[in-house]
């Protein structure tokens, strides 16, 4: 039984359906989580995740094995999220990511709902590049890996995080002001 991601990916690229299924099983939940953090809305995340999974049969052969499979997969996801936003914006149907939080807080208890309100307010106020960077790093993805996924330098990721931190601090100060 294959356990290594790269081995599974190579087998899937060679046409092994069981290996492809194993990759999906293993990474669907993580992929969905990232899709949620990129979009801020469950229905959007489900749709984005579906788009990515349905595109994977055509993309898996381009996985060269140099990066971790999750790095490659998350890069596919970030690119798919960008494409989806671009298309939605063109159709004037876009909700700005992290703009629709009602569905997310509906089932939450009061304390969690407050937390989620703040999350949506904060994420919605950040520029897209910072949001996407946080979507990765808030899930314990290292700055180096986030840089590889986003196609930027590690320094750029660190700079974006510092910008996000500043923005959050400014928001908090504004909230606390009388």
């Amino acid at each position: 039984m294959m356990t290594d991601d790269s081995e599974l990916a190579r087998a899937a690229a060679d046409g092994d359906a069981a290996a492809f299924a194993a990759i999906l099983d293993r990474h669907y939940a993580g992929l969905f989580g990232l899709c949620f953090r990129l979009t801020g809305a469950r229905p959007e995340a489900e749709d984005l995740c579906q788009d990515i999974c349905l595109a994977l049969p055509g993309k898996i052969s381009s996985y060269a094995g140099q990066a971790k499979l999750t790095t490659w997969l998350y890069r596919v996801a970030v690119n798919a999220a960008h494409d989806r936003r671009r298309k939605q914006a063109r159709h004037a149907k876009a909700r700005d990511g992290w703009g629709d939080w009602e569905a997310n807080r509906r089932a939450a208890d009061a304390e969690t709902a407050t937390q989620i309100d703040w999350l949506h307010q904060a994420m919605g106020a950040l520029p897209e590049t910072l949001r996407d960077t946080l979507a990765l790093t808030l899930d314990d993805i290292t700055h180096a890996e986030a840089a590889e996924i986003l196609g930027v330098s590690e320094g750029t990721v660190s700079w974006r995080i510092s910008q996000a931190r500043k923005a959050l601090r400014a928001m908090r100060t504004a909230e606390d002001a009388p």
Binding site: A12, G15, A17, F20, A21, L24, D25, Y28, A29, F32, G33, F36, R37, R42, E46, C49, Q50, C53, L54, A55, L56, P57, G58, K59, S61, S62, D83, K87, R90, H91, N104, A108, T112, T114, Q115, I116, W118, L119, H120, A122, M123, L134, L138, D139, I161, A164, R165, L168, R169, M171, R172
Partner: protein, 280 residues
């Protein structure tokens, strides 16, 4: 919220609390669809197999197109040794099919479109020295609206044309564009290719895609922008999927970004209809 030194901690905690688990039913559905797509893709990429490969090629028209245009392919007639009860002889129409298209598009349909699109798109369909056939180039830019109407009819019936059936040359030369100074223009989906315009509306092969190095580039006017949008849409159909970031909606946006003159033969309306159908 509690007052913490680092708001990122709060944000991370909130993100963790907000992130839902995937819906199991939707997950099952998506995984099932993805596995079916994987199986279809594998089936399509399998060689037809041993002695039947020639039959698949014959049925797909690749061999006939090759016979019509290359001397080397004539030798293949002897090699193939068609059985007496084999497929019927090719019709004149199939013999005059656009050979460069057939060769390139056959490859495009077999190869992984994701992995090879850049290679393929660097070789536009009109680079062959083989002269365009009337079928490939369109009879007249003033009278040939059929390629777009046929395409729109296919799409409205829920059918995608096969890549082999798409000829960029036929489609762009069907657009009735007035006389313009000869020039060549950049295209947004491939920096290595230009749209060359002879400028002559009576030229049935007026518009061509050529390697970038052949001619200079100038700024397109509204008509040419529309032709570029049409060529890009046709390329996207011919290569099967998005071309390095260029997709159907880009073609539609470009086509709709310009206002062009009267469309007596309604070809441009048919073109927009076709793009909209695929974009929806």
């Amino acid at each position: 919220m509690t007052d913490r030194e680092d708001d990122l901690d709060d944000l991370k905690a909130a993100m963790t609390a907000a992130t839902p688990a995937p819906d199991p039913a939707r997950q099952r559905q998506t995984l099932s669809q993805a596995q079916a797509a994987f199986a279809r893709r594998q089936a399509q990429s399998q060689p037809t197999g041993g002695g039947l490969t020639w039959l698949a090629d014959l049925l797909s028209g690749r061999v006939w197109a090759g016979l019509a245009t290359t001397a080397t392919a004539l030798i293949a007639v002897g090699v193939l040794m068609l059985p007496p009860e084999g497929p019927p002889a090719p019709s004149p129409a199939s013999l005059s099919a656009p050979a460069p298209d057939a060769a390139l598009q056959g490859e495009a349909s077999v190869a992984s479109r994701e992995g090879t699109s850049r290679t393929l798109m660097a070789t536009p369909e009109v680079l062959s020295d083989t002269p365009a056939t009337p079928e490939a180039s369109g009879d007249s830019p003033r009278t040939t609206g059929d390629p777009w109407a046929a395409l729109a009819a296919d799409l409205s019936a829920g059918r995608l044309p096969s890549p082999e059936a798409v000829s960029v040359r036929a489609l762009v030369n069907a657009l009735d564009v007035p006389a313009l100074p000869p020039a060549s223009y950049a295209v947004p989906w491939n920096p290595d290719v230009r749209l060359a315009d002879s400028g002559d509306p009576s030229d049935p092969d007026r518009f061509r895609l050529q390697p970038a190095a052949q001619t200079a580039v100038s700024d397109p006017d509204a008509w040419i922008t529309f032709v570029i949008a049409a060529a890009g849409f046709a390329e996207r159909l011919r290569l099967g999927e998005d071309i390095d970031g260029w997709d159907t909606e880009d073609a539609l946006a470009l086509a709709e970004s310009v206002e062009v003159g009267a469309d007596q033969s309604a070809v441009r309306i048919a073109m927009r209809d076709a793009v909209r159908l695929l974009a929806d």
